[in-house]
């Protein structure tokens, strides 16, 4: 079914009758890997695409008043097939591509052209040394998420951290972001350890028996700390930390109090309406990737409405302009940073079933936007965009 739809839309490209149509594609690049620790975190089959469906529907409602139509193609790929799939889209004239892929794949796809919206990868290097002029990020960066947590911990006066990081490269990068956040906001990392991934399945029957013995021992004899901060992008151990640490200390970061761009319990600023629409459509709770694909498509829709145009260049120029404002249930207008293409946005701090807080915390001020207290600011960016 999905293939048929995609094919029909592809055939229709390039015909003048479609002048008022805005075509985008969502390409999800799935890598084989171990399943998450908790079965609650198993990946839904329509992850990201479901947010795209909602974004397209919202755009279509508005487009109905503007005489504009929106089509979104869904493409599933592997790291091996991603470039060929991308080439097909570019050949068909699709200019706007939303990617759900890791950092390396995202860069490879962006190198091929189009205007790429990164809706999944959070790594700082993709906004820094590996940035691209045609790459915008609706997913927040690691630095934004770690700063969001750091601001809250400083507000709590929990400024002594025990940092536990995973052994994967993306874990190290996330731990680096926490080290940077600690320096930026005045916290001290009093102790740090690396949790080695010994491989194997992360879910086993009665796996908790071993964990209950291992985790206290692993966290024993740490220097005095207020809180354990876990940097576990790969999802190997952090979920096991709360209540298993040697010292009675709360856990934050990759478990416990967790920075996130979206959360099914988020209700502020009209978010309930979005949650209800999404859940009615998809029959499940939304994840970050769903929200992020929705934001990417809404950015296109907003540009089309405001410019009353479907010309891809007009839309891209508007999205990058100072006039662009995206309303996305975060209580203020979101826009793209011109120095690295990152969407500035508040970050939720989730604790279990509720959103415990939202950063930036009101005490942290900034000369341009308070949201720029989160992440890499203009003066410190390593992004050097050719041709921009």
């Amino acid at each position: 079914m999905r293939k048929t739809v995609a094919f029909a839309a592809l055939v229709a490209f390039g015909q003048p009758a479609l002048a008022q149509e805005i075509v985008a594609a969502v390409i999800r690049v799935d890598k084989p890997g171990p399943l998450p620790i908790s079965r609650l975190d198993l990946m839904p089959d329509d992850l990201g695409f479901a947010g795209g469906t909602l974004g397209t529907a919202d755009n279509a409602t508005t487009g109905g008043f503007m005489g504009q139509t929106f089509t979104t193609l869904e493409v599933r790929a592997t790291p091996e097939t991603a470039e060929a799939e991308m080439q097909k889209l570019l050949d068909a004239g699709v200019r706007f591509i939303v990617t759900l892929a890791d950092a390396d794949t995202t860069v490879r796809l962006a190198n091929m052209g189009g205007l790429v919206f990164n809706a999944a990868d959070t790594s700082d290097r993709l906004r820094g040394a590996d940035c691209r002029a045609n790459l915008l990020h609706v997913a927040p960066s690691d630095a934004m998420m770690t700063d969001a947590l750091a601001q809250f911990l400083m507000w709590k006066r929990w400024d002594e951290w025990f940092l536990i990081e995973g052994s994967h490269p993306e874990d190290t990068a996330l731990a680096d972001a926490y080290r940077r956040a600690a320096t930026k906001f005045g916290a001290k990392i009093t102790d740090s350890r690396v949790f080695e991934d010994s491989g194997g399945a992360r879910r086993t029957d009665s796996g908790h028996v071993q964990v209950q013995a291992q985790m206290p021992a692993f966290t024993q004899r740490a220097a005095a700390h207020d809180i354990v901060v876990a940097a576990d992008h790969a999802g190997v151990f952090a979920d096991w930390l709360p209540f298993h640490t040697w010292d009675a200390r709360p856990v934050a970061g990759s478990a416990g109090l967790t920075p996130a761009n979206w959360h099914p319990a988020h209700e502020a600023w009209g978010a309930t309406q979005w949650q209800t629409r999404f859940e009615r459509q998809s029959g499940r709770f939304a994840r970050d990737q769903d929200f992020q694909v929705w934001m990417a498509l809404r950015a296109l829709g907003e540009a089309a409405t405001r410019t009353n145009s479907t010309d891809p260049q007009v839309l891209e120029d508007y999205i990058r302009s100072d006039a662009f404002q995206l309303a996305a249930f975060k209580g203020q207008a979101l826009s793209f940073r011109d120095w690295d293409g990152q969407l500035r946005q508040p970050i939720l701090l989730a604790s279990g079933n509720v959103v415990a807080s939202v950063s930036p915390q009101s005490e942290y001020l900034h000369q341009t936007s308070q949201m720029d207290t989160l992440g890499i600011d203009r003066a410190e960016t390593e992004c050097r965009m050719e041709g921009r």
């Binding site: 008043f65 309406q273 009615r280 409405t305 203020q332």
Partner: protein, 316 residues
């Protein structure tokens, strides 16, 4: 029951002004005496009350009970609950036709405006509008009802005779509230995220001005216009500015902001006393209402109400 009614009748001629405040979190309506501004009663038994309005004769109170998916109706004299009105899912804001019937309700979850006959309690029409309909306003002559949609960012002008949309005006991000002036020649639409109030010439359905806000020492993103009210002579426009905890006083002729009044925290909706001498503001994060003297633009008093007050209406 009958006793209460008789008591109310006895008190009839001297029935004083009452202020009704919907408390979104408290699940209550706080009733204040309009003269003393003291809390005299609390109506309970609803879930997540938000939009609140009264019939033109002041006898009936209508409340959007959002989590009940109903419009609750109360007798303003006895506080007796009367049969509810169907509202469609998740009603947030509504507006009554100037004649007192029908009621036009914004259903945020369904992208529709529901039109309900308040006497027969029948749904007369469902009008498809943009994504997340919220603000509702009605032309003083009753010919047009306007809805604002928060994600589509438009004001949709709906013909009240045909239920057809006759015009769409694109405004700034997240339009929350729509208010006509006394002769209906201008429509004011607040945009919470856009930070503006658009002034729409209703003859041409074009924006002729955008009112912007600037308070020294307050973050621009905190200046989020929500509720809008005009004095009966259109000389002053009051705009509630959300998390900046201020109400702007705008000159009705020049559209220049003349003053910012400090009120309670996260001020959303506004309502005049029946004689328009006082303006009441609902301050969601400080659980109170502020009372503004319209002649002097002074905030004369704040009164604690229930948890997270949302909307306010005063009746004689």
């Amino acid at each position: 029951m009958r006793l209460i009614a008789i008591l109310a009748l006895v008190a009839g001629p001297a029935q004083a002004e009452k202020i009704f405040v919907s408390n979104e979190k408290g699940n209550t309506i706080t009733v204040l005496d309009g003269a003393t501004h003291e809390v005299i009663h609390t109506i309970e038994g609803m879930q997540r009350p938000r939009g609140i309005t009264a019939s033109p004769d002041g006898k009936f109170l209508y409340v959007c009970a959002s989590d009940d998916n109903l419009v609750k109706v109360y007798d303003t004299a006895t506080y007796e609950e009367l049969p509810s009105l169907p509202s469609g899912p998740d009603p947030e804001l509504f507006v009554l036709h100037p004649s007192g019937n029908p009621l036009y309700i914004a259903n945020e979850d369904d992208n529709i405006v529901t039109v309900v006959d308040v006497n027969t309690r029948q749904v007369l029409a469902e009008v498809p509008v943009g994504v997340e309909p919220e603000g509702m306003g009605v032309h003083p002559d009753g010919s047009i009802v306007v809805n604002t949609s928060e994600t589509t960012n438009m004001a949709h002008m709906i013909d009240t005779a045909t239920y057809e949309i006759v015009a769409n005006v694109l405004v700034d991000s997240r339009p929350r509230f729509a208010q006509y002036d006394s002769d209906g020649s201008h429509l004011y639409v607040s945009a919470e995220i856009g930070g503006t109030v658009s002034v729409i010439d209703t003859a041409k359905n074009e924006i002729v001005h955008k009112i912007t806000f600037d308070v020294p020492g307050v973050l621009p993103e905190a200046l989020q216009p929500v509720g809008v009210r005009l004095t009966p002579d259109d000389s002053k426009i009051y705009v509630a500015l959300g998390p900046s905890n201020r109400v702007a006083v705008v000159n009705g002729e020049t559209w220049e902001v003349e003053e910012y009044l400090l009120v309670g925290q996260r001020v959303w909706q506004l309502g005049f006393s029946p004689d328009s001498k006082f303006l009441y503001t609902t301050n969601g994060n400080s659980n109170d209402i502020s009372i503004i003297d319209v002649a002097t633009n002074e905030v004369v008093k704040s009164v604690p109400v229930g948890e997270q007050p949302w909307g306010v209406v005063a009746v004689q």
